[in-house]
Each structure stands twice: as structure tokens, then as C-alpha cells.
Amino acid sequence: MSDLFAVVMLSGIYSLISASLFLDLDAVDVAFTEASVGAGISTLLMLASLKLVSRYQKKTRYKPILAFFVVVTTGAMLIYGTLDMPHFGTADAPVHTHVAPRYLNESMGEIGVPNVVTSVLASYRGYDTLGETLVIFTAGIGVMALLMVSKQTKQESKKLIPADMQQQIILRIVAKMMIPLILMFALYVQFHGDYGPGGGFQAGVIFAAGIILYTMLFGLSTSQEVFKATTIELFTAAGVLLYGGVGVVCMLLGGNFLDYDFLKHDPVHGQHLGILLVELGVGITVASVMMIIFFKFTWRTVKHKYKK
């Protein structure tokens, strides 16, 4: 397909459908993440980058036989691999008998968080989550480094009358009503993660989506007055540092890295505090990285306009 816009839309639809699929498999947290990240923000960012390039793909001179071959082989291998898998939902599958039972049975006593997903994510395997946060931070660094904006362009943009949608009165009014609610919802997702589906990743993404919506409607320079790019750059780092800092504090208090038990006298309280803080760190990093990526793309668009 050479229409990239359609490709982006299809990938969004794909994410949405797989989110429904995850929901059907009772993986609510995964579905939520897939919907917000896969269908939501990544579609948005892809559209933003599409604005920089042409909508249609250049015609390739070769036929991607190799790629096709790779895909077919991979598919065949995957199907071959499923042949001996334990059937879905079997109670005695290794997945259900080895590690998982402890998570399900002990988590309430050890961590005291009703949502087991959160306790696995933020505590049992909290270090992985730190790594994931770092992955997002790395992606942000990549975009920041590659889409550097010169100081000149920044000054130029101050004079700029921003946003194509300035004239869209209906959109502006509706968005003005919605944006506070979106941000509220983000905070709800952030802090409700202990009890229901949610957590830093989804919350950060939703928060960023709200800000991005604002930027699209009211222009980059307006939103930059509140969310300065330089400040947000700092926030991308701050989230990781918060997460890691909690780990280091645990170490200083005598535990292992990320052993929240030592944060307070009562291990369960310590776990609560720890999870709260690291989820906050995740949320901060995710939100600010998403925003910075969008901002950088928009800067680029501005720059292109000026060149023309």
C-alpha cells in the first residue's frame, strides 16, 4: 500500500482490534495499554511525522521477495512452535504452575495491592519496568538529538501565527471542555493503577494526548508558554531519576535495589509508597517523552514552512 495515511489508520485499527482481543483474554491492563499507546498516541505521532514527509510512498524498483520470505518463514515457524504448546486455559500449563501462583496468592500479603499486574510490574519485576522507562527515555533522546531545532527557528516561531486549526471554532470549544477532563482522567489512571487497570504508562500517554490536542488547536507557541520544550526535556530525565532514585534510596536504607520494603517500617506500606513513586516516575517520563516527540515533529514542520 503506497498511501501512508491509510497505513497509519490501518495500524491504529489493528491496535484497537488487538486491544479488544486482549480484553477478551482478560488481560485488561494490556488491552488498556494497547488501546492508549498502540491505537492512540502512536497513531497520533505517526500522523505528525507524516506531515513532514510525503503522504505517498515512493515506488520501489524491486519486489520485496526477501521480506515476504522472511515473513512467511517466521509465520511457519510460529505455527510450528504452537503445535506442542499447552492448550489455552489448561490449568496445569507450566505458566500457571510455576511462578504465577505465588504472584496470585502472596501478592496481597507481600505487597498489598489488589491489582496483581501492578504488583508484578512495579515490584516483583520492577527492574524491568525501570528498563522499559529507560527505553522510552532513550527513544525521546533519539528524537531530541535527531530533530534538533536551531535557535533561529525558535525565534522565528514566536512571530508565527500557529496551528492550522485556529479557525475551527467548534473544535476549539469542544476541546476546551474536554482537555481538563482528559488530564483529570490521566491522573485518575495514574493513581488508580493499584486497584484497577492503569498505571504510569497509560496515564502518561493520556496526559500527553491531552496536551497534544491543546497544541494542535491553539498552536505550538501558545502551548510552549506553559510547557516549555527545555523544561519538558528535563522532565523526561526526571521521571527516570525518580524511579531510579527510589531504588537507590532503598539501597541506602539497607535493602537491595528497588526493595521497597525498606522505605517504611512496615514492608507493605513501604511497597505502597514505592509503587506509587515509581509509577509516578514512569508517568512523568512517558508523558514528557510523548510530548517532546510531538513538539519536535511540529518544530520541524514549522521549519519546513519557513524554508518554503
Binding site: Q168, I170, L171, V174, A175, M177, L181
Partner: protein, 115 residues
């Protein structure tokens, strides 16, 4: 009482489903982009809205579910109408003219069907 609520709720649900169906048929069968988006927004507003109202009757009292459903209804009404508006406007801006009469410029109708 239960029965009454059930009947009312089912009426809403079925009508909602009907509108969803008509919306879908319209999306497929209508000739140009603007009439299609009309059909599509029916699915979003009337269809989904009626189903949500029907579900509210099913939710059984003023628990946690009811306000959630109300909120969803509110948001979907707000968001989908605005979205339809935005899409239509974007189409207009990018040069797509509504087909006023079927005799006019069939080529545009074709081009819109590609979207």
C-alpha cells in the same frame, strides 16, 4: 418493575442496534463522502447513544456503573459529533465538494469512494 425496566431497556437496545445497522448500511451504500459521514455519525450518536441508555436501565440502580455509563454517553456524544464535524470540514477544505445532484461530476464521487 423489573420487567418494565427490562422492556424499556430492550427497546432502547434494539433501536440502538437498528441505527447502528442502518449506519453501517449507509456507510457502504451512500454515494458520496458527505452522505456517508452522515451515516457513520448516526452509528456513533444515535446507535451508540441508545444502546448506552439501554444499558443504563440494565445496570440496576445508582451504583458505580451508572455514572460511568452516563459519562461515556456524554463523551461519545461530544467527541463523535465533533469528530464528524472535523472530518467533514477537512474534506471540504481539501477540495472535496458534496454531490448536490447525482448528475453532477460522477468522477468526484468515485474519487471519494477511494477514501
Amino acid at each position: 418493575m423489573e420487567l418494565v425496566l427490562d422492556i424499556i431497556s430492550w427497546i432502547f437496545l434494539v433501536t440502538g442496534c437498528f441505527f447502528c445497522l442502518t449506519g453501517a448500511v449507509g456507510l457502504l451504500r451512500f454515494p458520496d463522502f458527505f452522505s456517508r459521514i452522515h451515516a457513520a455519525s448516526i452509528t456513533d450518536t444515535l446507535g451508540a447513544g441508545l444502546i448506552l441508555i439501554g444499558l443504563m436501565f440494565q445496570s440496576g440502580g445508582w451504583g458505580l456503573v451508572m455514572p460511568k455509563l452516563v459519562l461515556i454517553l456524554l463523551f461519545s456524544l461530544l467527541a463523535s459529533t465533533t469528530a464528524s464535524h472535523a472530518i467533514a470540514k477537512a474534506a471540504l477544505k481539501s477540495g472535496l465538494k458534496p454531490e448536490v445532484s447525482s448528475a453532477d461530476e460522477p468522477s468526484e464521487g468515485e474519487s471519494s469512494s477511494k477514501l
